[in-house]
Each structure stands twice: as structure tokens, then as C-alpha cells.
Symmetry: C2
DNA sequence: TAGATTGTTAATCGATTAACAATC
DNA sequence: TAGATTGTTAATCGATTAACAATC
């Protein structure tokens, strides 16, 4: 309904534009051109313009893009003005690191609770609840949770994801080493460290 | 020198094949066909065959692929038979989670040391040394370290990467929220959680 | 006005898919 | 042998790049 389907490649570049625009803003720049962005990020100027024009004409011929304006547009496109409530499922190493990682607040994600099957093993900052997985579906509905961060073992990840889908979760950020795909109803991003390490190994070997 | 340049898309799929083949092996299967892989991973059978044939003819007409044989080939291609020595630079939340994450051993990566500027804040399992960043270049050379895992703040990541390159590191696994690119000399994989979270936000918004 | 830079259309390039001969 | 499935060639599709008219 919104616009013609935007390719995943384009979406993957948007955060890079946003990050660079933030840097420009911090360093006091008022304007930026597609060729500035190009040389900073190693993306062709043509592609930068092509990508941005998917969402509207944000620039001005002969001038470039107004940094503040484009930043605001990107924030809108990426949905960074909204605050999201999140839970973590799986209180192991990664789950605990994420639960105490303060970077989330900057990105407008508030972690409300950590779920596990063995509560005694889990610790978390005191404003984050520690609860049993059995309570999860009820909690997600009651507290209107948007995002679930899955950091369970891979064996449990798929069924946890299904349970969350049924509980009405909107998005899943998956750290378990398995691809999760729940169709169009739930937004999913997989961070597969294991696959990344394999790719690193491949690249290193090829040198 | 090796073969015609393999595209990054192909490389990104190799670990998925490997992971699925492992599952086949664990469940006792002897053979697997491109259409088996296709339905398990949501990749077309044609692409599976195309991808694998970049590295050789591993299958047999009318039969498919021998699981053990293909697994061995993939292990070779990905370089998973070799053990790599690694260090972690940056002893914050992510660095510490990684230092005690046992999954590495399975993937043939041994973490030898964690480097930081403020040693008193860092803890690690006792077989992992905790050292000051100033000692890093010397250590990398002396101990023949292959992989550096960067988990510093983004402000330091780039200069740390340069220092490591000069010390002769072979690969960098970067968790700092900034793209690192060191040319052809050093293999790099970026895990940018911040960008991933932005993409998740975008997808969620679009629903 | 002259110079710069956008947004967009057209051209190119590369990746994915389809088809099929080879053959186990 | 008949059926199945590969490896590879050709066709299609989509993404990137180039070019340029519009215009600030």
C-alpha cells in the first residue's frame, strides 16, 4: 500500500545513510551532496540518489540535501521516532549482555523483561523483570510488547518464535544460529554470528 | 588465483548449506538432493546447484550429494579444519560476553587474550589473559594471532583496526557500529547490531 | 547568469531461474 | 532399462551505473 516494494538492498543501506548524516550533523554541516555520501560510504552517488528517491525528493537541484531535513526524513522512514517495548528470551551470555547494554535506549528500545526456563541462572539490571517462559505469551499481550529478542539455544528458537507470533509480537530480533522466517505478519532480523564467523574464515582462507 | 571471483551472495549462502548438511548428518541421512536443500532453506534448487558448482562437481547425476562428502568439501571451502587464534579488543559488555561464549571452540576459534585501556573493569575466564592495548601489536606478532574481535566504542574501532593491520592480523570480526574496510590484505566481517535494529524498526513500521 | 547537483530515464551489468543434455 | 538428479548453458529478472534534462 505504501509504495512500490523497496528492495532489501536499499533497506540495508538506509541505516548507513542515517549514521553518516548523524556524523555530518554532529560536525555542524548544513548540507550534504550525494557525492559527499558516496565518498564517505563507498556507495556510488547515483545509487545514493536512486535509493533516497524511492521515498521522495528530499534534495534540491544545484544544492544537495539539507542535513537536518534529510535526517528527519530518514528517522521517519526508519521509524526511529517511536519507542518500542522489548523483551529478551533466553538469559544466557548473549541475552545478559543485551539486557545490560545501554545502547538500546539511544535507539528507542526499552527492555522490560528477560524470560528463561531457569530463573536462578539469570541476572539483569533491577528495572528489568526476570520471568519464566511460561508467562511470556500472557506478558506480551498484557504489556503490549513490540519486539522480542531471541537469544535461546537454536533448538528452542523456532518454537519460541512461533509462540511469540501467536501472542501477537510485531518484531523478532533473532540471535540464535538459525534463520527465522514467520511470513509477512512479523518483522524479523536475524543476526547469525556463527554464519558471519564462517564467512570470515572463508575470506581469511582465500587471502 | 584460486577460481573466478565468487560473489558475496554465494559466500553468504555457504554457511547455510553447511549448517543444513550438519543437520542431515546428525539425523543419519546419507544423501541429500538440491531440492531437499531447497525446501529446507528456501533457496531454489537451481541456485543450490549453481552455487556448489562454483567449487566443483560434488554431486552425482540421478543420485544427489553424499552428505559426508559434501560436508567435508564445505568444511574445506570454509576453512573450518584449521584452528585460529583470536584476541578481543574492548572489554565492555559485548567483549565480555564473547570472551566467555563457549560456542567458539566448536567453530575452531581459540580466544587467547582480551585487550582494554582500563584493565580493572575487565574480567574473563582464567585461561584468557587480560592485557593493556599498548601491548597489543607486539602480542599479535609474537603469538601469531589470526583474528581480532573488535568490540570497542565506535570512536576507537577504526584506529584499532589500522593498528592491527600493521601488526599483521589476518582477519577482523568487527562488532563496533561502524563499517571497517581494510582493502584486500585483511579479511573483515562487520556485525552491525545497530544497523540491524534500524532495519527491524523499518520492517516493523511498514507492516 | 553560470555552476552545481538533483531526480529520473535508459543502458549495463550481474545474479537468479529455467531448461535440458549428460549420466548415474 | 527407466527414473532421478546433476552440472551447465541460455533466458530472465532485478539491481547498479551512467547520462542528462530540469532547475535551484
Amino acid at each position: 500500500m505504501e509504495q512500490k516494494q523497496i528492495s532489501l538492498n536499499v533497506i540495508a543501506r538506509l541505516p548507513k545513510y542515517y549514521r553518516y548524516l548523524q556524523e555530518c550533523h554532529e560536525s555542524g554541516a548544513n548540507k550534504v551532496s550525494s557525492s559527499n555520501i558516496s565518498s564517505a560510504l563507498g556507495i556510488t552517488a547515483s545509487q545514493v540518489r536512486q535509493d533516497l528517491s524511492n521515498f521522495g525528493g528530499f534534495g534540491q537541484q544545484g544544492y544537495g540535501y539539507d542535513v537536518q531535513f534529510l535526517l528527519e526524513k530518514l528517522r521517519n522512514i526508519l521509524g526511529l521516532n517511536e519507542t518500542h517495548k522489548a523483551i529478551i528470551v533466553g538469559g544466557g551470555r548473549i541475552g545478559q549482555a543485551l539486557s545490560s547494554y545501554s545502547g538500546f535506549i539511544k535507539e528507542n528500545v526499552i527492555i522490560k523483561a528477560v524470560f528463561d526456563v531457569e530463573l536462578s541462572h539469570v541476572s539483569a539490571p533491577k528495572d528489568i523483570e526476570i520471568l519464566h517462559v511460561a508467562e511470556m505469551p500472557e506478558y506480551v499481550k498484557r504489556e503490549n510488547i513490540d519486539i522480542a529478542i531471541i537469544s535461546t539455544q537454536k533448538e528452542f528458537a523456532l518454537s519460541v518464535a512461533e509462540t511469540l507470533k501467536n501472542a501477537g509480537i510485531k518484531a523478532i530480533w533473532n540471535f540464535a544460529p538459525i534463520d527465522i522466517n514467520l511470513g509477512d505478519d512479523v518483522a524479523v532480523e536475524n543476526i547469525n554470528m556463527s554464519e558471519s564467523l564462517f564467512r570470515l574464515s572463508y575470506k581469511m582462507k582465500k587471502k
